[in-house]
């Protein structure tokens, strides 16, 4: 990490409600330009909502989000998102799904071809260019989703539980592949997950989001060495951090939020 210049992303006292349902309350965080910040929190607590606001897909009711100093009011071109359910267009083959964003920008054909081919190589999908999404496994579809985001060379990458709909083995494989890709070209990344292990493994910092409405309950710095190797998950530091985050999430809550949190978690589960 370089000594912090201006952060790439600033979320400043973000609040949001859907009708009567308060979802985010005064959430503040920053992401530096070469930093992965994990957002971890129970299902239904508002992680996707927060990420969508950063992406410009939802609007805040209070507070402000700035990317490179620019206020986010609509999706910005230097931001890419990877979706939980891949979000590939079933009528486009894999190559053309990955080329989608560049085509929208009317990038010259030759440059599209060069960049798309490179992205496909990077995520290990060579040979499947002509396959349609339904012919690819979930893991391969998310590789394509990742390539579609990376090919835009974004300054900020938003990941919404990208591996949670994928089987455990493939998930582990993809986690480390994503880390390798990031090592080669580190960018700012906001990595949303409900898995504590994944949050610690990926992040330089872990933001623990919890409560109803959700707020930042804890912020943990992850001082594990990069590149992160597989062996890191058995290191005492990793286990220790995982324990701390677990306690942040489920341990004795502080300042009388017991009741509201208990209710929040239950009602979120009921809504699913």
């Amino acid at each position: 990490m370089p000594p912090s210049d201006d952060p790439r992303l600033v979320v400043d006292n973000a609040s949001l409600h859907y009708g009567a349902l308060d979802v985010l309350a005064d959430v503040s965080l920053t992401v530096q330009s070469r930093e992965i910040v994990s957002i971890v929190g129970p299902s239904g607590c508002g992680k996707t909502t927060l990420l969508r606001c950063v992406g410009g897909l939802n609007q805040l009711n209070g507070g402000e989000i700035r990317i490179d100093g620019q206020r986010v009011e609509k999706p910005l071109p230097m931001v890419s998102m990877v979706f939980q359910h891949f979000g590939l267009f079933p009528w486009r083959n894999m190559w053309s799904n990955i080329a989608y964003g560049l085509m929208l920008r009317r990038t010259p054909k030759a440059e599209i071809a060069r960049r798309v081919d490179a992205a496909i190589e990077m995520v290990g999908l060579k040979g499947f260019e002509k396959s349609y999404p339904h012919q690819l496994s979930g893991g391969m579809q998310q590789r394509a989703g990742l390539a579609r985001a990376l090919v835009m060379e974004p300054k900020l990458l938003l990941m919404d539980e990208p591996f949670s709909a994928i089987d455990a083995q493939t998930r582990e494989q993809l986690q480390f592949e994503l880390l390798r890709i990031w090592d080669r070209r580190p960018t700012a990344m906001m990595f949303v997950t409900h898995s504590i292990d994944e949050a610690v493994l990926m992040g330089d910092r872990v933001v623990v989001l919890a409560g109803r409405p959700a707020h930042v309950r804890a912020l943990r710095r992850v001082d594990l060495p990069r590149p992160r190797e597989r062996s890191v998950v058995t290191s005492p530091e990793f286990l220790n951090l995982r324990e701390q985050v677990w306690h942040d999430l489920f341990g004795q809550p502080t300042d009388g939020e017991t009741a509201s949190r208990g209710r929040g978690v239950r009602s979120a589960a009921g809504r699913k």
């Binding site: 999706p75 931001v79 267009f89 009528w91 486009r92 083959n93 989608y100 964003g101 929208l104």
Partner: protein, 272 residues
Amino acid sequence: MTAVAAASASLSRRLARLRSVHAGPIRLACYATSLVLLFAAWQAFGDSFGVLFVPFTATVRALWAMLDRGPLLGALWVSGELYLVSLALSIVIGIAIGLALARFRLIAAAFEPYVFILYATPTISLVPFISVICGFGFWPKVLVSVLISIFPILIGVMEGARSIPNQHLDVAAMFGSSEGQLWRDVVVPYVTPHAMTGIKQSIALAMAGTLVGEFFLNPDGLAAVLLEGTTTLDSASVLAVTLFVAAIAVLLVSVGELIERRLLRWRHSAIG
């Protein structure tokens, strides 16, 4: 868990079998057999019934005579023009209105009730009004035929365009799609299968619509031939024209299916 997996495996196997019935020589053989049975039953029934319902062979003979030097080809020409014009209009107008009703809420609020009123009204009951207002020429007939054939397309497109998953719209927004690009890259490809389903039905309905239009407004074309056969109690020629129309309808629907399959290759898996 395993029981569920086994059940879903057997379900998918059964589904695969169901789908494979739609392909290849088995399907063709079933089709041929049913035709032969139908014609045989017709033959037997006609033989025992006498002049008012002639057997299959007599019908084919009558058909041959009418094609050879009779009025059938000339009539086909007249009706064919009406058919093609009304089908083309149904497709173009049906898609346009369907999209407009789906994507523009105010238009839907103003006009959607009329669509369903018209859909529920038997078109024949409108024929007197149409003739009073528009006369008995070519275009009133087109109007009758369009009113009969447009709804499957219109409603299919409308429901299709309304059901575009948010996930696709999010991806488009995130990559900075303009409204025009959204229509080109998402709305049109997503709606195409719905439109094709409607068009296939309309291909057959426009046939019926053409005959109804001709029947009730200044008969000419195939309807005139049919009407003449009816008034002279020439059941052989009535059945011959019916057979002829049915054959053309089957042919046209097959063409529609062929086009559909080419357009929607992304839906069919490489294996199945």
